[in-house]
């Protein structure tokens, strides 16, 4: 179980307000680690710092051993950071297969290949097939992305992230706006992909978090007040009082 993403003593404040107060956090291989916290707890500020959209005041961010604290967002993506739902929308005129293939071609720098045909399947066919099977879109692979439902679009975006063979995937509110059966489907997908790509999950939906997250960290007023398995967190008193409000 080695550490994929480590955040050490991250500090960030806007004038008087401390948005991130010595945050320590780590994501290990093969796990879904959920980050929960009430509105205004500093979740989005933390995510922005992890993504490089916002500079932290102090502290370090390590991505599988490399210190990426001062890298730009593009460089972080190249190093293997995939973020789903911040990726701008998919290419609606392309089929599902072509969308994932494009990501593969980009990642493996194959775009100067003028000769081999993308229809014949010589090219990374197997890899794309496994990705599409994982995100359960293999049967509709020839469907244009423009006809996808809201949920299917989410699944495709995860497929595209996987095609970039990232070191981790950051999922920001993946269940927002999904119907119950769609949420179940997504849970299955998450469990399938967590083994080769760990997931940092930001989600409001408590029953989702408690049902699939291996580890949960609770962020309140910019500080991680508790971190542990879902059962530990459920019973933890100060978490209840600060956040779940059922003390």
């Amino acid at each position: 179980m080695n550490k994929i993403l480590q955040i050490i003593d991250l500090k960030k404040n806007f004038g008087a307000i401390t948005a991130s107060n010595k945050i320590n956090f780590c994501l290990e291989t093969g796990e879904i680690h959920a980050l929960i916290g009430p509105n205004g707890a500093g979740k989005s500020t933390l995510i922005k710092q992890i993504m490089g959209e916002m500079k932290q005041d102090s502290g370090e961010i390590i991505l599988s051993g490399i210190n990426i604290s001062n890298l730009t967002t593009e460089d972080r993506i190249h190093l293997g950071f995939a973020r789903s739902f911040q990726i701008t929308d998919v290419i609606s005129d392309f089929t599902i297969f072509q969308n994932v293939l494009l990501a593969k071609i980009g990642k493996e720098k194959k775009f100067y290949n003028f000769y081999s045909s993308i229809d014949s399947g010589e090219l990374t066919y197997e890899e794309i097939k496994t990705i599409l099977l994982k995100i359960d879109l293999w049967d509709e692979r020839e469907k244009p992305a423009s006809l996808l439902s809201h949920g299917e679009r989410r699944q495709l975006e995860i497929g595209i992230a996987l095609a970039l063979n990232p070191k981790l995937i950051l999922l920001d509110e993946p269940m927002a706006g999904l119907s119950l059966d769609k949420i179940e489907k997504m849970k299955v997908i998450f469990n399938q992909i967590k083994d080769d790509v760990p997931i940092l999950l930001i989600e409001h939906n408590m029953d989702v978090v408690f049902s699939i997250a291996n580890r949960i960290s609770v962020l309140v007023n910019g500080k991680i007040i508790a971190s542990g398995t879902s059962s530990e967190i459920k019973s933890n008193l100060d978490v209840k009082e600060a956040y779940l409000g059922t003390a």
């Binding site: 809201h150 927002a176 706006g177």
Partner: protein
Amino acid sequence: MNKSIILKLDNIYSSYSNVQVLNGVNLLVRKGEIVSLLGRNGMGKTTTIKSICGILKPHSGKIEFNSVKINGMESYKIARLGIGLVPEGRRIFANLTVKENLIGSSVKGYWDLDKILTLFPIFEERLSQLSSNLSGGEQQMLAIGRALMTNPSLLILDEATEGLSPVISKKIWNVLREVSNEGISILIIDKISQDLKEFSNYSYILERGKSVWNGKLAELSSDNSKRFLGV
């Protein structure tokens, strides 16, 4: 005391770049009333406003303004019937001065430049300034002033105090109270807050493009609030 209905949405369905967004929205605003529209992000609040203002054509259901059927009408015609829009993201004309923003689409009536300046005194010496260097709060005030200058009978605000500091939000709420006292009905979208609870007489909540709850915000149960608003 059935005050005459100024705006009526009846079972509105609408789609946006072939994604079905509104699946049956019903809403009522009576004369002089303040109605708030709530719901989590992506639940169709802005699409509802765009359907009312004619920016989007709903594909079924009926929208009536002062009992005139307006869905499908050109947005400039709907605006001229008396709907003033303060849009999401404010969309002030950054290439124009503050004054030009105000007078560009103004219509003769109770509200004129002097009254707007009394509402928002900070604009007094900045009328000839380019509005691109206004702060977020000032842009919101300018957008409200611009809408008032068209002398609407219904003012619609999309994300009224979104992203504004508490001090500025307070100012916006006071202005809206004054505007309401002048007899203008208001339809407002905003995050749930103490101010919104005191300010709006009646509220509707949207969940995945459907109006799922309506009533006075004070009567909203905590688990309904958690379920629909996630707070």
